[in-house]
């Protein structure tokens, strides 16, 4: 449980756009232990998906900067060529479940062949063999084996999600990136999928890199929470600490915005709009919206302060050890 399976150091991913450089991932350092699940939360457009894509190296054409260090299972993937990365890392060590599972299935491939695709590609397996494995993988995620002959359009959203999960699992990777895996599903199906993911994690010792904008949902699965804002990680804390006592003002605001079921508390919102990734604010990126911002926040970018027991926060409030227990 103490081995780092994924480590990013100073990961930078900038895109070129017409208006300027989009700083989607701006010097992120993050690590994931074996068997751990990390939830990456943040508002839309804060660079969550870009971070995931930077890790699995699925880059669009308009890359401006892409550097830093990524260690997957001890291997420095930034040194691998595109071909090596494709053959050795993707799906062998790290796989990904995409946002909107309904659209990530090839509409003209039968489900069985779709699930078998990674095997055909990576392990050069024979079709029949791969199909057998696909059947097993489908039954693991709770889909009847006979469904291998169906086309994606014949499945419901939840089923497609399961199929995509089966596809991510079929090559037994150590890490799975889940990019909003349940965002398009209803609550019941969401719960089913979350239970499935939990079960798989327990059975197989998988590490999840779980991207969501739903803090409540992240509590279901996460051992560790990372809060992202404007391309930077603002706070990382274990789930226990985070839900009880978030440190960063942004995290506090996020927690306050979650509606509660039984108390009479009104959900709060954060004034202002998310920071532009093209022209980010000076100093702390959150200062224009931060209720506790002071002069220093506007001028200088805060470093990451260690609040003890792996709790990290990027806020000047903690410079002198404020807020520490």
């Amino acid at each position: 449980m103490t081995e780092n399976i994924l480590t990013c150091k100073n990961l930078v991913l900038h895109y070129t756009a017409k208006k300027g450089v989009v700083k989607a991932v701006n010097g992120i350092s993050i690590s994931l232990l074996k068997g751990e699940s990390l939830a990456l939360v943040g508002e839309s457009g804060c660079g969550k998906t870009s971070l995931a894509k930077a890790i699995i190296r699925l880059l669009p054409r308009n890359i401006h900067t892409y550097n830093g260090e990524i260690l997957i299972d001890g291997q420095d993937t930034m040194k691998l060529s595109e071909k090596q990365f494709r053959e050795e890392i993707r799906w062998k060590k790290i796989s990904m479940i995409f946002q909107g599972a309904m659209n990530s299935l090839n509409p003209v491939l039968k489900v069985g062949y779709q699930v078998a695709e990674p095997l055909l590609i990576h392990e050069k397996m024979k079709k029949n063999e791969a199909l057998e494995r696909a059947k097993k993988a489908l039954s693991v995620v709770g889909i009847q084996e006979s469904f291998v002959e169906r086309y994606p359009f014949e499945l419901s959203g939840g089923m497609k999600q399961r199929v995509v999960t089966a596809m991510a699992l079929i090559t037994n990777p150590a890490i799975i990136i889940l990019d909003e895996p349940t965002s398009a599903l209803d609550v019941i199906t969401q719960a089913n999928i979350m239970n499935l993911l939990k079960r798989l994690k327990k059975e197989r010792g998988l590490s999840y890199f779980f991207i969501t904008h739903d803090i409540a949902l992240s509590s279901e699965l996460a051992d560790k929470i990372a809060v992202m804002y404007a391309g930077e990680i603002q706070e990382i804390a274990s789930a226990d600490i985070f839900y009880k006592k978030p440190a960063h003002p942004y995290s506090k605001k996020l927690m306050a915005s979650v509606p509660t079921l039984r108390t009479d508390k009104k959900p709060e919102f954060i004034v202002g709009s998310p920071a532009s990734l093209i022209n980010p604010p000076s100093g702390c990126k959150f200062h224009p919206r931060c209720p506790s911002a002071f002069d220093k926040c506007i001028k200088e970018t805060p470093p990451t302060f260690d609040l003890g027991s792996g709790h990290l926060a990027k806020c000047w409030l903690f410079e002198k050890g404020w807020g520490k227990e």
Binding site: R90, N106, V108, E117, I121, R150
Partner: protein
């Protein structure tokens, strides 16, 4: 399960096609064409056809020139069919051949007589006699007589064959002509308004109507032609074959070179199908492939393919083809290759590329990249199958275009030279003034087959279009 996904299999597609009337017609027409093609290839092998179509060895000597198909007689006409009498074939009715040696000499007296019934409303088109004589030094000495049903006898000519297998063209022989002119002069008591051709004089009713070709009527009844001759030599012999050429022949008629059009029309089917299908399939698929590569890879590849396409789009098709045909001998393969080469970078590339550029941004393509699918795999397994369905009806619908193109090129003289095709038949008929002379069948038959073929593919295309574009379905 199978019923839910059946529409994706070939069997399922055909099943669904058959739910549309146009699909039923299209498939029925297509199957008929395919059966006829196979029949043609088996029954009339390629080499034999080429020999027949070139008319090697006088194979068409015994068929009438520009004869209409025989079935025109079912539409109230009574045009003569070809009548053959051959003395070398024993036992043929209407043929008597007697050869008696003259005692104490090495000479023989021969008498060959042919009788036949003629009960048509029109005159024959030609009359020929083919001799095969056997002699040592001196050719036989023959007198040829013609007996009409009313008993009038005409001596046509005295004839000495100049070779073993001589041909006597009665219709154009000057001696016969003058003998008949004299005969007509005697019957009418003066010269006719317009000189009657021999086949008219031989068959006409002997009254005032003989005055001109427009009023002359054939006399119905039993005619007789007999040859009295003297043969010289111990083992001398003579045989003759009388052919009274009709005005109808076969299912399709004949052209000006006496060739049976059936052969040309039948061979047109496999040629049209092969040309249309090959051109359409190859062009559509290469188009698709190029467009997908262009759209998916983008960048320099895209620019290159797009610039080539634009260059090809302004290239004039016909002049280039004419230029090529002047430098190279065209045959089916070369013609296909040239047409394909000139058409692959077509306008289709532009629209398909636009589609590909849209599809390549779909999440499932990104997912495929994530699980390590190579670009080649994505192009062939993810993008092309996705854009294929709407292209199939277009592909089928494009077949007639290429069938017509082949015909049009043949009419322009850019056809396949050695093989008969529909276009070439139309070209021949055109060159020989078929429409001016009233030989409509010669033009209409290949035209009908062209339309039939095009209908077959268009019907299938319409039905397929309804299947892949459900919006077009009637409610």
């Amino acid at each position: 399960m199978s019923s839910e996904s059946y529409e994706f299999t070939i069997k399922g597609t055909i099943k669904e096609l058959l739910t549309y009337k146009s699909g039923i017609f299209g498939i029925a027409f297509f199957i008929l064409l395919v059966i006829l093609s196979f029949y043609t290839i088996v029954a009339l092998p390629y080499d034999q056809t080429i020999r027949l179509w070139r008319g090697e060895g006088g194979v068409w000597l015994e068929t009438p020139r520009t004869a209409q198909p025989y079935w025109v007689n079912y539409f109230g006409q009574n045009l003569p069919e070809t009548i053959k009498r051959d003395s070398s074939q024993s036992g043929q009715s209407g043929v008597i051949k007697i050869i008696t040696p003259i005692p104490d000499t090495n000479m023989k007296v021969a008498r060959i007589s042919f009788t036949f019934d003629f009960s048509y409303d029109s005159f024959p088109s030609e009359i020929n006699i083919f001799f095969s004589a056997k002699y040592n030094e001196n050719s036989p000495f023959l007198n040829i007589y013609w007996v009409k049903p009313d008993g009038n006898e005409i001596k046509l000519l005295t004839y000495i064959p100049r070779s073993q297998n001589d041909k006597l063209y009665l219709s154009i022989n000057p001696e016969v002509k003058s003998a008949l002119n004299l005969y007509v002069y005697n019957v009418l008591g003066g010269a006719p308004e317009s000189p009657l051709p021999p086949e008219y004089s031989l068959f006409a009713v002997e009254d005032a109507s003989m005055n001109s070709t427009s009023t002359a009527k054939p006399l119905k009844g039993t005619y007789k032609l007999y040859i009295d001759g003297t043969l010289f030599g111990e083992d001398s012999n003579i045989d003759a074959k009388l052919i009274v050429y009709g005005k109808v022949y076969g299912i399709a008629g004949t052209d000006n070179q006496r060739r049976d059009l059936t052969i040309g029309l039948l061979w047109g089917i496999p040629i049209a199908l092969a040309f249309g299908l090959t051109a359409s399939f190859v062009i559509t698929f290469l188009d698709l492939l190029l467009a997908t590569i262009s759209g998916y890879y983008g960048g320099k590849t895209d620019s290159l393919i797009q610039r080539i396409t634009e260059f090809y789009m302004i290239l004039p098709f016909l002049p280039v083809l004419i230029m090529i045909s002047t430098f190279y001998k065209l045959d089916l393969g070369v013609l296909l290759a040239v047409v394909i080469a000139l058409s692959i970078f077509g306008g289709g590339i532009k629209s398909t590329r636009a589609l590909v550029m849209q599809i390549k941004e779909y999440p499932y393509i990104e997912a495929a990249k994530a699980y390590g699918a190579s670009s080649k795999r994505i192009v062939f397994l993810y993008i092309i199958p996705k854009i294929l369905p709407p292209i199939i009806p277009t592909l089928i619908g494009a077949v007639p275009t290429f069938v017509f193109l082949e015909a049009a090129l043949a009419i322009l003289g850019l056809g396949i030279p050695n093989l008969p095709s529909w276009g070439k038949i139309i070209n021949d008929s055109f060159g020989n003034g078929a429409l001016y002379k009233g030989n409509y069948y010669w033009v209409l038959e290949p035209a009908f087959l062209l339309i039939f073929t095009s209908l077959a593919f268009s019907f299938i295309g319409f039905a397929l279009d309804k299947i892949v574009n459900p919006k077009l379905r009637e409610v």
